[in-house]
């Protein structure tokens, strides 16, 4: 493999997140290195999605520091995360159902558009040239994900597995340097999972994108991730390469119950 894992680009230190009295995350620290595939696993309600939302700027932790590319950030909104090159997909598909695949992917380019609203509305100035450039990039994503045949199909008419792929496409259209995937393979059949794994690996390998993913399919996680962090009840109970995590007694306990 020519892909080399680089320095730490995202460092989360002692993150705690509370909703009133509910402690979603307690004192969690881990880091993400450039070009790696980092998995977050844990039983239901462990705080995985909350963690992703913290990285993404949707939630603001009460305690702890987040250092992204050497800069500490205190409060950040999701759109700022997007402009910094962080894109994500959602556990429940969050596409524009009535719009075509192509249009959905074009929305992924939004943060990269420079021309003004009125220029677009009146189709003047830079708008046309810019649209062509963005369309080209989107077409490359379509080609990459092999979804040419549904380019003009409204998203609501697509089967679930394809919608997931389109959502990945929209995230890729933003040309992110870091991609957050929230259960990209939930509810898929074996073949769709295989495809999705291949796409994730290809994205990571060919575009050098750093990937943070939440996934329940242990086979998939152990196969494709470089390092895995394990959460349970909002606490970190394991962190390391898949092999270590697999043999960690705490992890086994959390997954299989205390009796084992």
């Amino acid at each position: 493999m020519s892909r080399t894992i680089g320095d730490v680009i995202l460092d989360l230190q002692n993150i705690s997140l509370r909703f009133g009295g509910v402690k979603a995350l307690t004192d969690i620290s881990f880091d993400v290195r450039e070009h790696e595939i980092r998995a977050i696993i844990g039983p239901n309600g462990a705080g995985k999605s909350s963690m992703l939302n913290v990285i993404n700027g949707v939630y603001h932790p009460q305690e702890g520091t987040i250092i992204f590319r050497g800069q500490e950030r205190k409060k950040m909104e999701p759109h700022q995360a997007a402009t910094q090159g962080i894109a994500r997909t959602f556990q429940n598909i969050a596409l524009f159902k009535g719009m075509s695949v192509l249009d959905n992917l074009m929305t992924g380019r939004l943060t990269l558009m420079k021309s003004h609203f009125f220029e677009h509305a009146l189709w003047m100035g830079r708008a046309k040239k810019e649209e062509l450039e963005h369309r080209k990039k989107v077409e490359e994503v379509i080609d990459f994900l092999e979804i040419q045949h549904i380019r003009k199909t409204p998203v609501s008419r697509l089967p679930y597995g394809l919608q997931k792929r389109v959502e990945l496409g929209r995230a890729l259209a933003a040309e992110p340097s870091m991609l957050l995937l929230d259960e990209p393979m939930a509810g898929m059949n074996v073949e769709e999972k295989q495809d999705m794994c291949r796409f994730i690996l290809d994205v990571n390998d060919q575009m050098g994108t750093t990937i943070v993913l939440i996934e329940h399919d242990m086979g998939v996680v152990m196969d494709i991730s470089d390092r895995v962090v394990v959460l349970d009840y909002g606490k970190k109970i394991g962190d390391g390469v898949p092999e270590d995590v697999k043999n960690n007694p705490e992890v086994i306990k959390a997954y299989l119950g205390a009796g084992h």
Binding site: S2, K136, I142, F144, Q148, H149, R151, E191
Partner: protein, 655 residues
């Protein structure tokens, strides 16, 4: 001027490379190949194609490609793969296209048989297959791939990006500017131009060696009959290894000079068809059938007014559409109604199908249902049938314009002679016949009669007008226990004309009655079941539903009724049948890659079911192993009901 030159040069000494460079000279700027890439149709002119072919040929020569050598070609219809064919021919080599969906083990045979050293493939998927069998084919030296995606980490020295090959060739061409022209000039018309492997319904596939002259003669014949001209467009989407695609997308394109269009991917063919609007189109009957099925399903969802209009005008079209196309007399009233229908229904329908610009459409490969055939002709699409084998460049019979008979494949094509042997087998002779089977002199000798006729292996007869009518494969035609003729294909085709039946296999040779296996059509039957609120979980479940069995029984009984009207086959009515629990599949060796039933294999594999059919059992349990596309294996099992169909007394017609 260009057109006359194109026709004037057929002096019997032509080769495909010379035709290519001829087109590059006389119509250099005209489009030769289009391909949809990144959502946009990209065009290569004849001059572009000639330049690339030159570069590729020189590149191949630089790698050590020899005159007479084979170049395997594996992939979807990609412009560069067509160019590779030409490049090999420029050097006097022989392209050997393979079916791109074949698994590695199936390709192994061809690689060993043809002693292939060079192969051009589409993408990583095909490269992976070759690496899988690489150790078994030590002679393989160079793999050239078109699409670099995913190939970054492959560092084997024998892998070459096609663009690197082209660059290498361009340098070679600069250093030896006269090299390629001299190579092309050495080519002779009776050199082998391509080797196509027969699908192998029986035994191992055989490599059919066809000369430049043979394919040029075949292409020229169809050009003259259908008045093809360089302004045409064709969509090239059928496997390159199939003789039909080689005739239409390669030979005819080079002889006539029309444009070939490569779809974006195999999933986008319908959309691409609509965008290109080809003038010339080929599809096997099942494609026409699935198009019609999808229209009918969509029309059922349309509003009441539209639906009534649609059916009213289809009625008009049925009454007079085909006659109008054939130029037969039609009453003034019907002409007016048809004109109105054309405006409101047929025109938009042709547009939706992507067939607005069609001048000629062809179908072949299997029998087409008369209703289906009539439907397309009645809405103004000049759909015709042809007949021919790989060994005859798919060029034996063509239906001429204005003299279409639904149940025949037409009179012999220009310069083709047909004779019927005493046993009913069709014999053909003409310039399009094969040069030989590769390294099989015995097979070559056996396939030809002393007078040079090729034994097609099909049973048929010429009717009063000299049109050829095909009954079945000669070797499949058997006898029932009472001595009556049994032509399984003939009956199966009648069954397959029903949209709910995808495949059928009939048995009856040396038996007292005819029994059948039926495969339902998942799309059509699934839709039918949904409309009746019949829940089902998958193919096996759907196939076992009593309602479905009842539906199929009705179809079978209609076939039985129809068979009574034809004295020759009246005894072949189907007495008992069952609906198979799995689809017959080429991956399980039940069908050939061209989707023809391998009858003997199926009979052996499902012997227990045949016994059950003939022993009068009401049902039979069976477990079958299936191979999935990713190579895994699984099992399906079901308790199959055996159903008795009503048979009808034979109607004795006065002679």
């Amino acid at each position: 001027m260009s057109q006359e030159t194109a026709v004037g040069i057929f002096d019997g000494t032509q080769t495909f490379p010379r035709l290519l460079f001829h087109h590059a000279k006389v119509r250099g700027a005209a489009p030769a190949i289009r391909e949809k890439d990144l959502g946009i149709w990209q065009t290569w002119s004849w001059a572009d194609v000639a330049e690339r072919v030159r570069a590729l040929a020189c590149g191949l020569a630089a790698l050590g490609f020899q005159r007479g050598e084979h170049l395997a070609i594996i992939g979807d219809n990609r412009p560069h793969l067509y160019m590779m064919m030409s490049a090999a021919q420029c050097l006097g080599g022989v392209p050997v296209p393979l079916y791109q969906d074949a698994v590695a083990a199936e390709m192994l045979f061809v690689f060993q048989d043809a002693g292939i050293r060079f192969v051009a493939v589409e993408d990583q998927e095909q490269v992976d297959k070759l690496l899988e069998i690489h150790e078994q084919i030590p002679q393989l030296q160079h793999i050239i791939y078109d699409d670099p995606r995913g190939m970054r980490h492959y560092n084997q020295p024998f892998l070459h990006d096609i663009h690197e090959l082209m660059e290498m060739g361009r340098i070679h061409n600069r250093n030896h500017p006269d090299f390629l022209d001299a190579e092309v000039a050495q080519g002779q018309s009776d050199d082998v131009s391509v080797m196509l492997y027969t699908s192998g319904t029986t035994g191992q596939p055989k490599g059919v060696c066809q000369s430049h002259g043979a394919f040029i003669a075949a292409a020229r014949g169809s050009m003259e009959m259908d008045k093809l001209d360089p302004s045409g467009d064709i969509l090239s989407y059928l496997p390159m290894a199939w003789v039909g695609d080689h005739l239409f997308s390669f030979a005819q394109a080079l002889v006539v000079g029309f444009t070939i269009n490569c779809p974006e991917s195999s999933d986008t063919v319908t959309t691409d068809l609509r965008e290109i609007g080809p003038t010339y189109y080929f599809a096997p009957p099942r494609v026409f059938e699935s198009l019609l099925t999808s229209i009918m399903i969509r029309m059922e969802d349309a509003g009441a007014i539209k639906r009534r209009m649609f059916h009213y005008f289809l009625g008009i079209a049925k009454r007079c559409g085909a006659d109008l196309l054939d130029g037969k007399p039609v009453s003034f009233g019907d002409r007016v109604l048809y004109g109105l229908g054309n405006l409101l229904v047929y025109g938009p329908l042709r547009n939706v199908l992507g067939m607005s610009r069609i001048r000629v459409a062809y179908t072949a490969g299997a029998a087409i249902g008369p209703d289906l055939f009539r439907f397309y002709r009645s809405i103004g699409i000049n759909l015709k049938q042809f007949y021919g084998q790989t060994e005859a460049c798919a060029y034996v019979c063509l239906q001429p314009n204005r003299a279409i008979k639904f149940d025949s494949v037409g009179p012999p094509a220009p310069r083709v002679e047909i004779k019927i042997a005493d046993n009913g087998e069709v014999l053909v002779k003409g310039p399009m016949l094969l040069k030989e089977y590769y390294q099989r002199p015995n097979d070559t000798a056996e396939s030809l009669t002393a007078e040079g006729y090729f034994l097609t292996g099909d049973a048929g007869f010429l009717d009063a007008d000299g049109h050829l009518k095909i009954i079945d494969r000669a070797k499949d035609v058997g006898k029932l226990a009472n001595g009556a003729m049994f032509a399984p294909n003939y009956i199966e085709n009648k069954l397959k004309f029903f949209q709910h039946i995808k495949e059928a296999v009939c048995f009856g040779h040396e038996r007292s009655m005819v029994c059948a296996f039926i495969n339902i059509d998942m799309g059509a039957v699934g839709n039918w079941a949904e409309r009746r609120n019949i829940p089902y979980s998958g193919y096996t479940d759907l196939a076992g539903k009593p309602e479905v069995c009842e539906l199929i029984r009705e179809c079978v009984e209609q076939v039985n009724a129809a068979l009574t009207e034809e004295a020759m086959v009246a005894d072949s009515q189907i007495h008992r049948f069952l609906v198979l629990h799995k689809e017959l599949d080429p991956d399980d060796d039940e069908l050939t890659r061209t989707r023809k039933v391998r009858r003997n294999f199926v009979a052996k594999k499902y012997a227990v079911l045949i016994d059950a059919l003939y022993s009068g059992k009401p049902s039979q349990f069976i477990t079958t192993e299936v191979k999935f596309e990713d190579g895994r294996r699984g099992q399906v099992s079901a308790d199959l009901k055996i159903i008795d169909a009503k048979t009808f007394p034979t109607v004795q017609k006065a002679a």
